[in-house]
């Protein structure tokens, strides 16, 4: 076997760890140098932005946070951008969680976004954290008919009847928007199936890139917009940045998704490189084998 074929063979059977090393280095480098690339918003993302933008101030928005730390890096920028946009527009935000850990995610957004950036907003008047309830899509079905059946208190233990923004609300029927952030089951799909469609409430939201293709079937009839993964979040940030230029000032705080797209692009290209490399070596070796037979 000539030296050339030995090298090709070695590359063809390359130890996984070299692949790991290249991908790791590419991502670390891009993160350190904060590489960014321009984004073009897609229709599905623009539809959500327009909806939030065009609802009159004081509209009631349900924000289900159905994800956990595992998918936090992918979904947090989206959640933050939704909350910022709602807060800018003065919508009333009702946080809810169908995942046990979703409650921690809600608490995080309240602490990091609402309390820090919008100290004027009052808990119980402008936003409320209803907390986690077990029961998955059953919870949605219940709060669509009788919210108090499950929620006697908010996540902090306050009786629902004593919360100003819960006055006169017995169910989420008649709310203006469900804006979900979800990482799987139960999540956006269940909010469409058990909440939005039967209750006739517009539903939009974001999910991980993995889930997005499964939710395409619901767009645009049952889902007015859909955001898949960090790329869509970057597009949303881009739109919010255009609409509210003050967010340009601190990109590391407000534009986390745009910044995160840099390493994504670099990593994609390195994977594409490995796929090409693998196929080139595979074809060379296959030709040789055929010739030798």
């Amino acid at each position: 076997m000539s030296r050339f074929y030995r090298i090709v063979e070695a590359i063809n059977e390359l130890d996984k760890r070299w692949v790991f090393l290249v991908v790791g280095l590419a991502v670390v480098t891009a993160t350190i140098f904060r590489l960014t690339f321009p984004e073009v918003p897609t229709e599905m993302v623009e539809a959500i932005y327009e909806k939030v933008e065009n609802l009159p101030a004081g509209s009631r928005v349900v924000l289900p946070f159905d994800y956990d730390p595992g998918s936090e890096p992918e979904l947090q920028p989206m959640a933050d951008a939704f909350v910022r946009h709602c807060a800018e527009k003065g919508h009333k935000m009702y946080f809810i969680a169908l995942w046990p850990l979703g409650q921690s995610m809600v608490a995080g957004v309240i602490d990091n976004v609402l309390r820090e950036e919008y100290p004027d907003l009052v808990y119980g008047e402008d936003y409320v954290d209803l907390g986690f309830k077990a029961g998955n899509e059953g919870v949605i079905a219940v709060i669509l008919t009788d919210l108090k059946k499950l929620y006697t208190t908010d996540s902090r233990g306050n009786a629902i009847d004593r919360i100003p923004m819960m006055q006169g609300i017995s169910s989420i029927r008649g709310f203006d928007l469900i804006l979900s952030v979800s990482a799987g089951y139960p999540g956006l799909k269940e909010w469409v199936q058990y909440g939005g469609t039967p209750g006739n409430i517009p539903v939009a939201g974001g999910c991980t890139a993995v889930q997005a293709p499964l939710l395409y079937p619901y767009y645009p009839d049952q889902l007015l917009g859909l955001m898949g993964g960090i790329k869509a979040a970057a597009e949303y940030e881009y739109l919010v940045m255009e609409g509210y230029p003050k967010f340009k000032e601190r990109p590391t705080r407000y534009l986390t998704a745009l910044i995160r797209m840099g390493p994504q692009t670099v990593a994609h290209l390195s994977i594409v490189f490995f796929i090409v490399l693998g196929n080139v070596t595979f074809q060379i070796l296959r030709r040789r084998r055929r010739r030798m037979n």
Binding site: G138, K149, S155, G157, A267, F274, Q283
Partner: protein, 226 residues
């Protein structure tokens, strides 16, 4: 006898829950939700079996000084400590009867923030590497099916970056349908969606059959022996 009662329980509960879907009258209207909650309660009770098994297994390794018993000790100690601080809500700002168990400031939340969360997120992040190694190894044009898999994955991957748009931007408007963003979109919205639909329809039928077999007692290996 030992098998008849469980079979009856499964059959009756299953059939009633199916029928309850068509009965809006209380108490059937909420029966399906109630039974979901019942399941959660039984699952929560079952934690005793799971946790007990964990302690037994690792405890045995420690007491017998089996190979790697030190690691088992780590598991046992981690388990018992978090269980204790969680059940007693140590450090909870509002005390034992106060706010939720995950309240910031409690030791339980501390364990979550600095042990649970970094471990879970890092395990999940390993996927970035495995996706790369799996792509390198599996996406090879070995036969027609594998080539389709490879070409589609390649198109979508590159279509997710600005390079996709840039690579085919020189094509004239009349050949718009050959640009990578266009192809990527159609693959996702038309074919991916059609394939997933077919898979979901098949799954639903499989689930209907499997559920039926469970309800009428054909599928019952879980019931063990007489």
């Amino acid at each position: 006898m030992k098998r008849t009662i469980p079979l009856l329980i499964t059959g009756i509960v299953g059939a009633v829950l199916v029928i309850a879907y068509f009965i809006p009258h209380p108490p059937f209207d909420s029966l399906r939700e109630d039974f979901s909650i019942f399941f959660d309660i039984i699952a929560a009770v079952a934690f005793i079996l799971g946790g007990g098994n964990l302690i037994k297994m690792h405890g045995n390794r420690v007491s017998r000084r089996e190979e790697g018993w030190g690691y088992s000790l780590v598991t046992v100690v981690g388990f018992l400590v978090v269980l204790a601080i969680g059940l007693t809500k140590v450090g909870n700002p509002d005390g034992f009867r106060g706010s939720s168990v995950t309240a910031a400031g409690s030791l339980f939340d501390y364990a979550y923030q600095f042990v649970f969360r970094p471990c879970a997120a890092t395990m999940f992040a390993l996927l970035a590497f495995y996706v790369a190694s799996a792509s390198f190894r599996a996406f090879r044009a070995k036969n027609l099916e594998a080539t389709i898999l490879l070409l589609v994955a390649f198109t979508i991957l590159i279509g997710r970056t600005f390079v996709g748009a840039w690579m085919t931007s020189w094509l004239p408007d009349s050949l718009h349908f050959l640009t990578i963003p266009y192809l990527a979109e159609k693959i996702m919205v038309v074919l991916n969606y059609a394939g997933n639909r077919a898979i979901m329809i098949g799954i639903a039928l499989g689930i209907v059959s499997t559920s039926l077999k469970v309800i009428i007692g054909i599928d019952r290996s879980y019931l063990g022996s007489d």
